[in-house]
């Protein structure tokens, strides 16, 4: 992309964001919330794989909410399973992902 094309594209996106101001605001808030929750979920995994109840106990977040975020991250290869502990699966960050 040339410099001029990049500039045009930036102006176009800016105008589009202005047109969809409410949506952008809402999704930005959602993204911030998701990032904050995922930081809480991923932090304890640095010490080793964790189950959903363990993560719930550490973070204070509801188990179903943690499971949803784990499921989302697993779908896009940001979390992997690491065996089982009793009737719960263990989850960890994949190698090379912090």
């Amino acid at each position: 992309m040339t410099k001029e094309d990049a500039k045009k594209r930036a102006i176009f996106l800016k105008n589009l964001r202005a047109q969809h101001e409410e949506t952008v605001e809402r999704t930005q808030t959602l993204l911030k919330e998701q990032k904050a929750i995922r930081r809480q979920i991923c932090q304890p995994m640095r010490d080793g794989p964790k189950t959903i109840p363990e993560l719930a106990q550490i973070t204070g977040l509801p188990g179903n909410e943690i499971l949803w975020h784990i499921t989302a991250m697993k779908k896009y290869d940001l979390i992997v399973e690491a065996g089982m502990c009793a009737e719960y699966y263990l989850y960890q960050r994949p190698e090379g992902v912090k």
């Binding site: 949506t23 188990g63 499971l67």
Partner: protein
């Protein structure tokens, strides 16, 4: 690419299994067909299921080839992500006003590589996985979607432009707008499908607030190889359940919900899922609380007997209430009819509501086709003689838009609708066709 107006022999509305089968049967006879689907992919509800009863064949393995056949058939124009806003009569035929919703992706260029999806930062509940899993604001609808093209949900897009930067073929187009076009057709086949009794319909069963009380379609996704968790886990905490119970007639045969009819498929899908769960979780106890088991089709009774022999517990009794204990285990209160009618409370790890089929769409306003006042499905004047012929000449109906039925019956009926439509189309070309309906034919519906 602008969608041009079309002139076809038949307009098929709905891209589920019934719509696809009708379209294929007509197209194979040489008729031009336009298949309109409101979602971004065809496949309907069947493509979300794990296996079919009583053969336990893989649903995807049956549906995907049909989806592909529809997409590649030379006589079928497949129009996904389109909605019909109005139908006008036109000299014995019809003209449909159609809106093509913007995908914000150039369909012709998109290769379905999903790189845009991986680049998108926004995760949203995935309706295809009954909200248990996530999807991105831009995504290919599901792994076997047809067409395998991305679609951008502008209502939930942060407009960061990452998808546009990542796309290797530059097919993201934020400038797309809804497009209007028309389809002229001599006949219409309505295959608009069904809805499910909402899980929050019954307050006695937790009104949708109990995390570990799910509906049967959710379990289909849990059992599917492409399911959200990749395993059967309960939604509250990811536990592999040791004890699962089915509550039958949780949305059918229930006057309090206004659904007096039997949905015909719940007994069989519950038995099927119980068998599949026994395979996925060999140590789990599976219980089915039922009023009576209705196994009406070929091989169905044997399927039921096999389930009993596998150790699935069938308990005769209508569940009165579902509550939750401190560990979020659902607790059923039920009268055990075969054990002296004693009333007991039993805790399970997860409960599945065998929800019923309800009408998914009312075609009266757009198509002028009335619904049956008794159940809300499309009215068929002579269901025994002409089960696909509606009150409106030239408009036929098929599948679960007409009444609750299983996949086998939907496919058979789709073939019938195609045959009826073909005869009607031939009559317009000078061949004789007599509508198999007369005002005096009033018979009771023969449901076995």
């Amino acid at each position: 690419m602008t969608q041009e107006n079309l002139h076809v022999d038949t307009l098929v509305v709905g891209g589920g299994i019934a719509g696809m089968q009708s379209a294929l049967d007509l197209a194979d006879q040489g008729f031009r067909v336009a298949l309109v689907e409101k979602e971004a992919s065809i496949g309907g509800k069947m493509i979300a299921l794990s296996k079919v009863f009583p053969t336990l064949d893989c649903c995807s393995c049956i549906t995907t080839p049909k989806m592909s056949a529809v997409a590649h058939h030379e006589n079928i124009d497949l129009l996904t992500y389109c909605e019909i806003g109005a139908i006008h009569e036109n000299g014995g035929g019809f003209v449909a006003d159609v809106t093509k919703k913007p995908r914000y992706v150039n369909e012709a260029d998109c290769t379905g590589c999903r790189q845009c999806e991986y680049a998108c930062p926004i995760d949203l509940p995935n309706a295809f996985d009954m909200d248990l899993g996530a999807m991105r604001a831009i995504r290919v609808p599901f792994s076997t979607a047809v067409p395998q093209k991305a679609v951008l949900d502008i209502e939930n897009c942060i407009l960061c432009g990452k998808c546009e930067q990542t796309c290797p073929v530059n097919c993201i187009d934020f400038t797309q707008q809804p497009e209007q076009f028309q389809i002229e057709a001599d006949a219409i086949v309505l295959a608009t499908g069904f809805g499910l009794t909402p899980t929050d319909a019954k307050k006695e069963y937790g009104a949708g607030q109990l995390l570990n009380v799910v509906d049967a379609l959710t379990v289909e996704r849990l059992l599917a190889p492409t399911g959200p968790y990749g395993h059967v886990l309960r939604p509250s905490d990811g536990k592999e359940p040791d004890s699962i119970a089915y509550v039958q007639c949780a949305g059918s045969r229930d006057t309090t919900l206004g659904v007096e009819y039997c949905s015909r498929v719940c007994c069989m899908y519950a038995i099927k899922q119980a068998m599949l769960l026994s395979g996925a979780l060999p140590l789990a106890d599976i219980t089915i609380y039922y009023m009576d088991i209705r196994t009406f089709g070929k091989g169905y009774e044997q399927f039921y007997q096999n389930a009993r022999a596998m150790g699935i517990e069938f308990v005769k009794g209508k569940v009165a209430r579902i509550t939750e204990d401190d560990d979020k285990n659902p607790v059923v209160r039920v009268e055990l009819i075969d054990e002296g009618s004693q009333i007991v409370e039993r805790a399970h790890d997860m409960i599945v509501l065998s929800v019923g089929m309800v009408p998914g769409y009312n075609p009266q306003a757009i198509y002028g086709v009335p619904i049956d006042a008794s159940d809300g499905f499309i009215e068929i004047p002579s269901p025994n003689i002409a089960p696909t012929v509606t009150n409106h000449e030239g408009i036929f109906a098929t599948g679960t838009a007409v009444s609750p039925m299983d996949i086998v019956d939907s496919i058979v009926m789709a073939g019938a609708a195609a045959a009826e439509t073909a005869a009607y189309l031939q009559s317009r070309n000078g061949h004789s066709y007599k509508l198999p309906i007369s005002g005096s034919m009033e018979m009771e519906v023969a449901h076995v």
